[in-house]
């Protein structure tokens, strides 16, 4: 039963620097896995600096869930095990070999395998962490039977990569991945596609899934929005979700018998001279991609998109779940009477700026300035304009701030992730760090419920 859904609340941020649809292969040379990408994971390291690893060799596992392993995306030498304050593991970096070697996990057809065998293969190869769950947005628990699995076939974040381009020609692997996922749930595998664009045949020809059509602005592409509209999560229920490239990696595991972490990522942002797509591997350093390709001046490198990504440095590594790099100008400047000027040419969701003068199709170079000081919550009714969930966002945020567990549960904390609040944070007049607050609430809830 395919569903058609139109999202009305929300908006697209018209950032400049969209990636041109050409794919360039780059051998990054250095790759890293960063435990910080995995919420709630306490890493126990299995390798030493100088060890030789193959693609698929275990690097560390989660102390609390020992069967969840994290493996090397490429073959090479463990170069550095970098720790930060209080010996927190920051990243394990690998210097790649010229000729890739893979751990052999054996080819198989998932339709003829049992659920246990599939789970075992996914866990062993380190592919399992791609599968995440709501509530809490953490790596899925293999023992759960999720009521549904959601795959969002498009991304509506600013400058987000075009999934149709990314999956091109990988229909077989995508289908195999779905077949494997289908075995993991007694419910439905949902594949959600965008109404306004023509999806790649890889998506539209997919079998074993329920295809739903979603229309509307960001956050229409967020899996949280889609779950809320299609099959909302109630207390005690679990939904798993992953992205198309991650499904393909699962497919390759069965078709090729190895952890082939090849990735296509979009290099975007107003400060990139030639924004385009890059074929590389999971966890690649951005050093080679931005060489001679960035504007002069102070810039910020972001693994992911401008709303939810993580700041990295110019030799930093792309995050485990990211298929985008965004480079924006830093905004550490003073603007004289900036709040009082008419503000022609400034993009704002608010009608207190003359946006209508700028034309509909203008793209904007936005920087990282806060554009104002932190204040108390005063304005109301604005968050609701960009939040399509059937949830009262301000009330939920306040219940998190006072750590009222009962209230958080009643107001729908199980259905949300911090990324669902990114637009609210963007438009917030009080300049509150709302995604951080929501993450704290989710973590608190998870601790209480375990």
């Amino acid at each position: 039963m395919s569903k058609k859904i139109t999202i009305k609340k929300g908006f697209n941020i018209p950032l400049a620097g969209e990636a041109e649809k050409t794919i360039t292969p780059i051998q990054a040379g250095h790759y890293a896995i960063k435990p910080i990408d995995f919420v709630g994971v306490f890493p126990k390291v299995l390798v030493h600096e100088g060890d030789k690893v193959q693609a698929g060799s275990a690097l560390f596992f989660d102390k609390y869930r020992e069967n969840i392993r994290f493996t090397a995306p490429v073959s090479g030498t463990v170069k550095e095990i970098r720790r930060g304050a209080k010996r927190v593991l920051l990243e394990i970096t690998i210097e790649a070999d010229d000729i890739p070697e893979y751990v052999d996990f054996g080819k198989a057809n998932p339709t003829s395998l049992s659920r246990e065998k599939i789970v075992e293969k996914l866990l062993q190869s380190g592919v399992w962490p791609f599968i995440r769950q709501r509530p809490y947005s953490v790596i899925a628990n293999p023992a759960d039977d999720p009521k549904a699995i959601f795959i969002s076939g498009f991304d509506t974040h600013p400058l987000a990569p075009d999934y149709n381009l990314i999956v091109e020609g990988q229909g077989t692997d995508f289908q195999t991945g779905i077949d494997a996922l289908k075995k993991l749930t007694s419910g439905i595998v949902h594949l959600n596609l965008q109404q306004e664009t023509t999806p790649s045949p890889v998506f539209s020809n997919a079998k074993n899934v329920q295809i739903n059509w979603i229309a509307g602005p960001h956050p229409a592409g967020n899996v949280g929005t889609q779950i809320n509209k299609i099959d909302p999560i109630n207390k005690g229920e679990v939904v798993w979700y992953l992205r198309p490239q991650e499904v393909i990696t699962i497919g390759r595991l069965f078709n090729e018998g190895r952890f082939n972490a090849e990735r296509i990522i979009a290099l975007t942002g107003s400060e990139i001279l030639k924004p385009h797509y890059i074929r590389t591997h999971l966890g690649a350093t951005i050093a080679g991609m931005i060489r001679n390709n960035v504007n002069n001046g102070k810039v910020r490198y972001i693994s992911g998109n401008a709303l939810t990504g993580r700041k990295i440095d110019s030799i930093g590594y792309i995050g485990f779940y990211d298929s985008q790099v965004t480079v924006l100008p830093e905004g550490d400047y003073y603007e004289m009477l900036g709040w009082a000027l008419p503000g022609v040419g400034k993009f704002s969701f608010s009608d207190a700026f003359p946006n209508f003068l700028n034309g509909k199709n203008k793209k904007y170079q936005l920087d990282t300035n806060m554009h104002g000081g932190h204040r108390a919550f005063v304005m109301t009714g604005r968050m609701e304009k960009v939040f399509p969930f059937d949830i009262y966002p301000l009330q939920l945020i306040k219940s998190i701030m006072v750590e009222d567990i009962d209230e958080m549960e009643k107001l729908g904390i199980y259905e949300v992730d911090e990324e669902d609040f990114a637009l609210i944070e963007y438009i917030d007049t009080s300049k509150t760090e709302i995604q951080t607050i929501v993450r704290k609430g989710i973590d608190l809830m998870r601790k209480e419920m375990s």
């Binding site: 709040w339 969701f349 207190a352 300035n369 554009h371 108390a376 009714g381």
Partner: protein, 384 residues
Amino acid sequence: MNGLRKFIDNIKPQFEKGGRFSYLQSTFDAFETFLFVPNHTTRLGSHIRDYIDMKRTMSFVVIALIPTLLFGMWNVGYQHFLSMGESVTLWENFWFGFVKVLPIVVVSYGVGLGIEFIFAQIRGHEVNEGFLVSGMLIPLVLPPDVPLWMVAVATAFAVIIGKEVFGGTGMNILNPALTARAFLFFAYPQDMSGDKVWIAEHGDAMSGATPLGNLLTHQPLTTSASDMFWGFIPGSIGETSTFLILLGALFLIVTGVGSWRIIVSVFAGGFGLAAFFWAIAPYVAPDNAYMALQPWYHLIMGGFAFGAVYMATDPVTAAQTNRGKWIYGVLIGVMAVLIRVLNPAYPEGMMLAILLLNVFAPLIDHYVVEGNIKKRLKRIPVKA
């Protein structure tokens, strides 16, 4: 501009922790951020942020109030000379009012901001911009002849007891400007009601009562509806011109700063009940002049329009959910007319109606949110 920036950067360390004037840090910050949007960059969460901030939001409300302030100044002079039986030029009218009103505005801002700065410093907070609006609203809801010391006392009461004891901007329950007015109304009724106070330095050529007050004493309504709509009537400084208030409302709605839901629903609620009373008046209470009033008169008399547009919409003290805003607005309109009609000892019902609903707004929100919670619970499939 660069020179100014350099100067500020030079003196800044003295106001920071350990500096000579560190006890003025909040004050310094307020002035610095007034001149320059700070260079703070995003740390966590979204890397980009909207240009909208509290300063712009609040200053837009002040802009929306300026026409009523300027007209109010002129009208203070106009009513004064009218009561003296004199006719003078537009500028003489305005100048008289300007000299009357400006000190009230200055006292309101001076006292209010002074207290705000002190509290911000004690709490180690940045100064919130909320009082920029309250400080403008207070003079506009007072009679032109109000003594300045009363303005000072009322403002201090409103900011300290009405706002800061609850934790400051964003935490208060009652609208600060109305708290100031209510304080004066109950503490010094002789200076806040009756027919002596609404015209500055009242002459004897005409009565000084407002149209609302006229009705109270069973005098026929002599003021035309058009005078009431355009604002050529005695009253609080900013409340008389419904036209300019609606202009301000339009500005607030178009820029998204004021809630159209509240503005529309207050007018709808007030009009609805007034129409009902008007229809039944001949049968139930033929001598109640307020009840027999045609319903649109209620909307252009007294502080109804001013309250609906500038007071009821205060986002902190209003209902916060969209559905709650409709209920809250309608009830304000209903209560205001109810108080006017059924408690004629007190003709201006708007102030009390808004303060009352300020108190009930959290309850309204509670039930709206409770509805959402129940919906969520119902979704859970019944386990067989």
